[in-house]
């Protein structure tokens, strides 16, 4: 690596849970049986251009294509809807406090997101 090269570590963690028959307590879902997590470090797969917005409340945000990594968090307010085809179809949703992150195909992911009411978001792109 050279000075100024960017790396990103991203991890997701989820725990499917099931309530017992008495309705008294949540357990690890018996169909899954464990907590799930995956973590990866992207080094050298991306360029070094980082754009970070800590607080944005003006929508829609149309980032279009050209990114290698994308992160979005709904910081507060109403749900955020995310499109990967420039706004024709909104397929992914984020509620307040939730975040989404992915290594993306720079030519296929045409990113646009909008609020369903009034929201504040935080986002990061790496190109």
């Amino acid at each position: 690596m050279a000075t100024n090269d960017v790396t990103v570590t991203f991890r997701n963690f989820c725990v499917p849970q099931e309530k017992d028959s008495t309705g008294a307590r949540w357990y690890l879902d018996s169909d899954c049986g464990r907590k799930l997590s995956g973590s990866a470090v992207l080094t050298g797969e991306m360029g070094n251009t980082v754009v970070y917005e800590d607080s944005t409340s003006s929508f829609p945000v149309d980032l279009e294509t050209g990114f290698d990594f994308f992160y979005l968090k709904c910081v507060s307010g109403d749900d955020i809807k995310l499109s990967l085809d420039g706004g024709s179809n909104y397929l992914v949703s984020l509620s307040s406090g939730e975040a989404f992150a992915s290594y993306v195909d720079s030519s296929a992911a045409d990113i646009k997101f909008d609020t369903t009411g009034t929201s504040t978001v935080q986002y990061l792109t790496i190109t």
Binding site: F10, F13, Y52, S95, A99, V104
Partner: protein, 184 residues
């Protein structure tokens, strides 16, 4: 049928930048304090913090089928499903880890057309895979890539995304995944 189901989830992102620590010089009476220059990673100066979020989602207590998690899709978990001759190589007797093979043919995670509430996919193999949310379309795009050991998770928006639209294919070499895909 479960009494009730929910999924808790969290995402964390740390962006770093390579920096160089300049060489230091100097000495004490008994020690040499000099150090050569070296490279190190620090939190990216445009971000300056770890990013992330968490939440949970209530999903249907009666899921669309046993295959809603790859861990329960193992088809030989019921005694009556075993059809392997006892004295052959015991491929079916090992119920495995729940990994699903990913090769050059797109794998549709399910043909169920219920509204998708939540999806988690991890690349458990050694090679990158890519994901479409348009399985069955004429020319589906693959906006998400998963490097080895990487994972992705997302909630569906409204009723716009159905379970049968999620597909996974290799980028260049075969790999494996595990997944959870739950209906609303």
């Amino acid at each position: 049928m479960a009494n009730d189901r929910k999924i808790q989830f969290a995402t964390q992102v740390i962006a770093k930048i390579e920096a160089q620590q300049a060489a230091t010089t100097g000495s004490l009476e008994e020690y040499d304090l000099s150090k050569a220059a070296y490279q190190y990673n620090k939190t990216h100066t445009s971000v300056n913090k770890s990013l992330g979020g968490n939440g949970y989602i209530d999903v249907n207590s009666t899921q669309w089928g046993d295959g809603w998690t790859s861990m329960s899709v193992l088809t030989r978990t019921a005694w009556e499903d075993f059809d392997e001759v006892w004295n052959t190589t015991a491929s079916d007797w090992d119920i495995g880890s729940g990994d699903v093979a990913i090769s050059s043919a797109v794998v549709q995670l399910s043909s169920d057309s219920s509204t998708m509430a939540f999806c988690y996919i991890k690349n458990t193999g050694s090679n990158a895979v890519k994901i479409t949310l348009e399985y069955g379309a004429g020319s589906p795009t693959y906006p998400f890539k998963l490097p080895a050991a990487g994972s992705i998770q997302f909630k569906g928006y409204s009723t716009n995304l159905t379970i049968d639209k999620i597909g996974v294919v290799r980028v260049s070499s075969d790999s494996t995944i595990e997944y959870v895909i739950a209906k609303a």
